[in-house]
């Protein structure tokens, strides 16, 4: 493991009663790297994200984070050690306001034990939340109930909630799916700029190759649970296998 490596997966396998969703996956991610994960529907991208963040246990293989074995870690512990994620379908508290969502996330990341019984309406936390909302350009939506807002704003909130824990590595599962074409680049500009400030390594799943080309240092392509290509974007997007199995032409 090189000094810069933050996350390393070795020989990961996962099968669901016969279906192979991950096969011999070997990846290592460096600090500050921005990686795009591509692949057709059902290629195993979400399964990969789920295994890394502990939502699914790999059938075999090993996952290391900062040199420590974290295979089969509980999601909440993944969050504690600085391995966070967002979701393909945004997982936010629909019945609450944007600010309330973020306050809960922030408060949980800063407090523990008895402090969790202190009032959530804390000036310091409130100010910090506003800062993040500003960074993610959703401060004006602060008091609106999430269920009334657009997909794009929910996605941003979902990512903002994952970021409050100051992760070392963040995995974003299709941050721009369900978002209108005009909004897509805007969202990615905001997110990538915010995450670059903190030298967070970013892995994001993406179907839109324009976005992949624009933002990533490296592309990992999945096909039927296997990695068929792991290279810089130019190289990857002109790779024969990628063209055939991912881009489909």
């Amino acid at each position: 493991m090189s000094n810069d490596t933050v996350l390393k997966a070795s020989d990961l396998n996962k099968s669901f009663s016969g279906i192979i969703a991950a096969k011999d996956i070997n990846v290592s991610i460096n600090q500050g790297e921005i990686v795009g994960i591509i692949g057709a529907n059902g290629a195993g991208k979400t399964v990969f994200v789920n295994m890394i963040t502990g939502y699914l246990k790999p059938t075999s293989g090993k996952i290391e984070f900062l040199g420590e074995d974290i295979t089969g870690i509980e999601p909440r512990n993944a969050t504690h050690i600085g391995l966070c994620r967002s979701f393909q379908i945004s997982q936010v508290f629909m019945t609450m306001s944007v600010k309330q969502n973020l306050m809960i996330a922030m408060s949980l990341s800063k407090k523990n034990g008895k402090a969790l019984l202190d009032p959530i309406a804390d000036d310091e936390i409130s100010k910090e939340c506003d800062k993040i909302l500003e960074l993610y350009k959703i401060l004006d939506q602060s008091n609106n109930i999430v269920s009334t807002l657009s997909q794009g704003i929910r996605k941003l909130l979902d990512i903002a909630m994952a970021v409050v824990g100051n992760p070392k590595v963040i995995l974003l599962d299709e941050p721009t799916s369900g978002v209108s074409v005009e909004e897509k680049f805007g969202i990615m500009d905001i997110v990538i700029a915010a995450l670059k400030q903190t030298e967070t390594s970013v892995l994001f799943v993406e179907h839109d190759m324009e976005i992949v080309e624009r933002y990533v240092d490296r592309v990992i392509a999945f096909y039927q649970g296997e990695i068929i290509c792991d290279a810089p974007p130019k190289e990857a997007l002109s790779d024969k296998k990628v063209i055939e199995y991912v881009l489909g032409h």
């Binding site: 999601p75 969050t79 609450m96 949980l108 824990g165």
Partner: protein, 320 residues
């Protein structure tokens, strides 16, 4: 945890309401009404506990388990240790139910929805079965409870009522402090999205367990106070499934909007029951059922939503 709690509007309203209740019942209202208040407030504690669970979308059809457990703990401590002090009685009921809730919580926290409801019911029926068979506990006849004392002095019913009010205020303030905390907000968050809560770094099961123990303590305390004010415990009126049903009933009737709602709901329930018994002894169940139907159809937010509407209406008028 309690910093600035007395600035909280809900807490202020609660305290005002309780003081008004005490003053009215000691100066103008007849004795039987005071009894209704006393039973209503005691039972209201159990409702408050159910309201907590309801906020996480959990409905327990077996909370009479803790209600009865608290009541019988009071009875047993009187029988074997001669304890009649009301402070001790309340503490014993709360702690006993809390311990039982803590143990069963390890099982129940894994279940949701109908499974949670039915498993709770199953546990309460086990206790019912045991109590109905246990001769040293008076089987189906139950046991009588002697009047409470306070620090060695005899306690009149008037003062018992004041003390119950005091316990209720303390309990409700603690719950309000919990609800405004991070942990309290989490519980509403859980009903919204469990996966997200886990990924925010907190164990959903732990949060539910904590809440479950709190609701068990409240129900136990309610049972203890009820035993002390009725002077009697027995399995049918304390632990049977219809008691649990009644508690859920009052919870829905009250609404979950505020810590005061359970007590108002429980008091109203006592009055409905008294009048229904008096005027239509054959049909009281139908009257009570009809009331619930009316509330579900016309005021799905419970009695509290009606109160809120009335007050907001008043406020708007004042502004104009």
């Amino acid at each position: 945890m309690f910093t600035g709690i007395f600035k909280d509007t809900s807490v202020r309203i609660l305290i005002t309401f309780m003081i008004v209740l005490c003053v009215l019942s000691s100066l103008v209202l007849p004795d039987w009404m005071q009894n209704n208040f006393m039973y209503g407030l005691s039972r209201g504690l159990a409702i408050l506990g159910l309201m907590l669970l309801w906020r996480t979308n959990l409905v327990s059809f077996g909370h009479a388990l803790y209600y009865g457990f608290g009541a019988y703990a009071v009875a047993l401590c009187q029988k074997y240790f001669g304890i009649t002090d009301i402070l001790l009685r309340f503490a014993i009921a709360v702690i006993a139910a809390g311990i039982l809730g803590f143990c069963l919580g390890f099982i129940l926290r894994k279940y949701r929805e109908i499974f949670f409801a039915m498993l709770s019911l199953a546990f309460s029926m086990v206790l019912y079965g045991l109590l109905a068979k246990a001769e040293f506990l008076g089987s189906t006849d139950g046991m009588s409870i002697s009047p409470s004392t306070l620090l060695g002095m005899e306690l009149t019913r008037q003062y018992l009522f004041y003390l119950i009010t005091f316990f209720v205020i303390c309990a409700a303030i603690s719950i309000q402090a919990y609800l405004r905390s991070t942990l309290g907000h989490l519980t509403t968050a859980i009903q919204d999205n469990e996966i997200r809560v886990e990924y925010l770094g907190y164990s959903v099961q732990k949060a539910i367990h904590i809440k479950y123990v709190m609701s068990a303590c409240l129900a136990g305390g309610a049972g203890g106070l009820m035993a002390a004010s009725l002077g009697q415990v027995d399995p049918d009126s304390m632990v049977n499934w219809n008691v649990s049903g009644e508690l859920v009933f009052i919870t829905i009737m009250s609404g979950w909007g505020n810590i005061l709602a359970p007590f108002i709901g429980a008091i109203i329930f006592e009055f409905i029951r008294t009048y229904a018994f008096e005027w239509a002894p054959q049909a009281w169940a139908a009257i009570v059922g009809g009331t619930l139907l009316a509330i579900i159809f016309f005021f799905p937010g419970g009695i509290w939503s009606v109160i809120e509407k009335v007050f907001n209406y008043g406020k708007k008028k004042n502004v104009k």
